[in-house]
Symmetry: C2
Subunit: 152 residues, 2 copies
Amino acid sequence: MSADRELVLTRLINAPREKVYRAWTDPVLLKQWFAPKPYTTPVVEIDVRPGGSGYFVMRGPDGKDLPNRGVYLEVVPNERLVSTDAFVKAWEPSEKPFMTMILTFEDEGGKTRYTARVRHWTVADKEAHEKMGFHEGWGLCTDQLEALVATI
Amino acid sequence: MSADRELVLTRLINAPREKVYRAWTDPVLLKQWFAPKPYTTPVVEIDVRPGGSGYFVMRGPDGKDLPNRGVYLEVVPNERLVSTDAFVKAWEPSEKPFMTMILTFEDEGGKTRYTARVRHWTVADKEAHEKMGFHEGWGLCTDQLEALVATI
């Protein structure tokens, strides 16, 4: 895998990996951190198994909804979660395969090394994603994730 | 799923579905029928499980090799086999997501209703695939598959 199609965020989170994984797989928790505030996430419908669908709606401060659909490709509880927007459900190709997201949750002395690798089909899409504010946006969301797992 | 991105081949094969499924999952058998003659398939390396890779090399009568890589998305022995060329391995995006192949094997009174649904990301790719000779090519291969399963 050439690095030129990948964006990566990694952070050491002060919580056991079971909690960080739960924040990614429990809809009630996902709604609380998934979108960078003041955006919200009023809808999270997920079927967390290989081939299961995910449907997320983010809502902007202007009330505009941003729906996202995808499919889980690999699910290893507390360790690894892989999904893609190349399908809207198993196995219906989406309008535009944009990215595949590989999340890993590793134990580091009771804390969690959380890493999100976002792989794109083209260099242009990776660059567009970066310009859309990948690092800022995912960074803010990860702040919210981190704050939330401290409370569960 | 709109039909305008899908190509379908279906045939009733006079063999139990275990044999038809085996012809798709045993490399020794795949090499015998996978390419329409006079093309051959000298290389078949497959890891038939969700997330497993497939690597096929077809060789033309002019000696030119045509490599194909993909990943299995869903594997239900004797029933269903789904793969895609959107990834070259789990989970590395390919140069070009072209198709996802959904094979089903259904029992019809001891024979097998064999159906291959090939879904594309774009209408243009579906049309290109059709013009490349999908129906003729897959038809010939299915003749070869049918002849082979009669002998195993």
